[in-house]
C-alpha cells in the first residue's frame, strides 16, 4: 500500500501531541538515503506528514538541535490529540511499512522494493508479505 501523504494543516487538525516512534541517527550511513530524505524534507518545509493504514497520523523531520542526549538524525513521530491514546506498537509497525516502501521507490538503484519485501518476509516484519 502506498504511503498516504497529508498536508501540515490536515495533520494539525488531527493531532497536537507528538511522540517519537522511530529514530534514524545516521541517515547518511548510505548517502543516497540522506540525499533523498533531505530533498523531500526541503520540498515540504522541513516536515512531512502521512496517515498510516490505521488512520493514525505521523510526522517526519530532523531532530531539533539541542537534543538533551546530543542526538542527531531524522525522527518519525506519531501525532495524537492531547488526551488521545497512542496506537499499539503492532499498529505503528504496520503503519511504518508504507513509509519504508516509499523510501525504496524514491531511492531506487540497488535499494529495491523487492529486496525490502524479501528482507521483511525473512524477518517477519509486519506489513511485509509473508513470502516475497
Amino acid at each position: 500500500m502506498a504511503v498516504q501523504w497529508i498536508s501540515k494543516q490536515e495533520a494539525q487538525k488531527l493531532g497536537e501531541r507528538e511522540e517519537r516512534v522511530l529514530l534514524e541517527q545516521t541517515p547518511g550511513h548510505y548517502p543516497e538515503f540522506e540525499d533523498f530524505i533531505g530533498k523531500e524534507l526541503e520540498k515540504k518545509g522541513g516536515r512531512l506528514f502521512f496517515r498510516g493504514v490505521s488512520g493514525a497520523v505521523y510526522s517526519v523531520g530532523r531532530l531539533p538541535e539541542g537534543d538533551p542526549d546530543e542526538l542527531r538524525g531524522v525522527e518519525v513521530s506519531v501525532r495524537t490529540v492531547a488526551e488521545g491514546r497512542m496506537p499499539s506498537a503492532e499498529t505503528m509497525d504496520l503503519d511504518l511499512w508504507p513509509f519504508l516502501e516509499w523510501l525504496m521507490e524514491g531511492i531506487d538503484g540497488e535499494w529495491t522494493l523487492k529486496a525490502l519485501r524479501q528482507t521483511g518476509a525473512i524477518y517477519r516484519v509486519p506489513g511485509a508479505p509473508e513470502r516475497a
Binding site: 522511530l22 538515503f33 530524505i37 542526549d69 511504518l96 535499494w111 529495491t112 525473512i122 524477518y123
Partner: protein, 302 residues
C-alpha cells in the same frame, strides 16, 4: 536489571561489575587462575555473556573464565548515541577492562564481533597473549559475500529500515538467532530465548546492535577499513598458539574464512569443522568449544 528465575536457572553465575570510562560494565568471572592463563570469552551481535553459559562450567574447573558484556550489550550500560559505537571504542574499553583486571596472560575465545575486537587487542598486546580460539568470524577488511549483499544484510540495517527492523522489531534476537542456529529446539525453549531478550527490552537498548553492522567496512575509505587492514597484516606475526573451530553451515562467515585464518596464522591447528554448526556456534557445539579451550589451557607451559 533483575534476572528472572527461569533464566537464572540456566545462567547461574554471579554478576560482577566494573566502571570503565564512566560506563558500568557487567561480566562473569568464574573459576580460579592457578598457574594457567585466564580464558576471556568475547561475544558478538546480538548476544552477551549469556552466550557462553554452557561453556563456562565446562572449563572453570581448570582455569579462570571471564566473559564481558560490551557497552551497549547484556547488562552493561548502553550509550544512546549511535556514533559512540565504533570498533575503536569497543576495543578500547575491552583493553581497559583487561588492564583493570590485571590479567597478565590471556587465552581469547572469539566469535563474530569478538574476532575484530580480540584480534585488535592481540595485535596491540602480543605479550599478553597465551592463545586464541577463533570461531565463525573475520579479521580483514574485505567483506564476505553475505556482508556485501543488499539482500538481506545491507537492506536490514540500511537507514530507516535498520531503525525499524533492529530497534523497533528486534529482528536479530527474535528471528536472527533462530535462523543462524542449528539447534533450534533449544532456542524455542522459553528460558533460552528469554535470556537473549532480557537486556534488549526497548528500542533504546538495541542501538549497539544496529551500530555493529554499520561498522563493517565494504570498501577502502569506509569506517574500519584501515583498522581491519592492519589486523590482516598483523595475523602472520601472531606467535602464540591458535586453534580454529567453525560451524560449516554459517552463511555469514563460510568455511573459507577458517582456512584463510589457518593460512595466515603461523602457529595454528587445522580447523575443527562442525558440520551441523551455524553462526551461533556456542549454541550448536558447546562441548567441542570447551574441548578446544581446554586444549589451549592444557598446552600452556609445555
Amino acid at each position: 536489571m533483575e534476572i528472572p528465575q527461569h533464566v537464572r536457572e540456566i545462567f547461574p553465575f554471579q554478576s560482577r561489575w566494573m566502571e570503565v570510562e564512566g560506563r558500568r560494565l557487567h561480566y562473569l568471572d568464574e573459576g580460579k587462575e592457578g598457574n594457567k592463563p585466564t580464558v576471556v570469552l568475547l561475544h558478538g551481535n546480538p548476544t552477551w555473556s549469556f552466550l557462553y553459559r554452557e561453556i563456562v562450567p565446562r572449563i572453570s574447573h581448570k582455569c579462570r573464565a571471564v566473559a564481558l558484556d560490551y557497552a551497549g550489550f547484556g547488562l552493561s550500560d548502553k550509550p544512546l548515541n549511535e556514533r559512540w559505537y565504533t570498533l575503536e571504542n569497543h576495543t578500547g574499553i575491552f583493553t581497559e577492562f583487561i588492564e583493570r583486571l590485571r590479567l597478565k596472560k590471556v587465552i581469547l575465545v572469539v566469535q563474530d564481533w569478538g574476532g575484530p575486537i580480540g584480534v585488535g587487542f592481540a595485535m596491540e598486546h602480543p605479550d599478553r597473549m597465551a592463545g586464541m580460539l577463533i570461531m565463525n568470524t573475520w579479521a580483514w577488511p574485505e567483506p564476505s559475500l553475505f556482508h556485501a549483499s543488499v539482500l538481506p544484510w545491507r537492506m536490514m540495517h540500511a537507514p530507516f529500515v535498520g531503525a525499524h527492523f533492529f530497534l523497533r522489531r528486534n529482528i536479530l534476537v527474535e528471528r536472527g538467532l533462530y535462523l543462524s542456529t542449528e539447534n533450534r529446539e533449544k532456542l524455542k525453549a522459553g528460558a533460552v530465548l528469554d535470556g537473549y531478550r532480557l537486556p534488549f527490552s526497548s528500542p533504546e537498548s538495541r542501538i549497539g546492535m544496529l551500530a555493529f553492522p554499520r561498522n563493517i567496512p565494504l570498501k577502502p575509505g569506509d569506517l574500519n577499513w584501515d583498522r581491519m587492514a592492519k589486523m590482516k597484516a598483523a595475523l602472520p606475526s601472531f606467535r602464540f598458539p591458535c586453534r580454529l573451530l567453525w560451524g560449516e553451515k554459517d552463511n555469514v562467515f563460510p568455511s573459507e574464512n577458517a582456512h584463510k585464518f589457518q593460512e595466515m596464522l603461523p602457529n595454528c591447528t587445522s580447523p575443527r569443522m562442525i558440520p551441523h554448526g551455524r553462526h551461533f556456534i556456542q549454541e550448536d557445539a558447546p562441548v567441542e568449544i570447551a574441548e578446544e579451550i581446554l586444549a589451549l589451557v592444557d598446552a600452556w607451559g609445555e
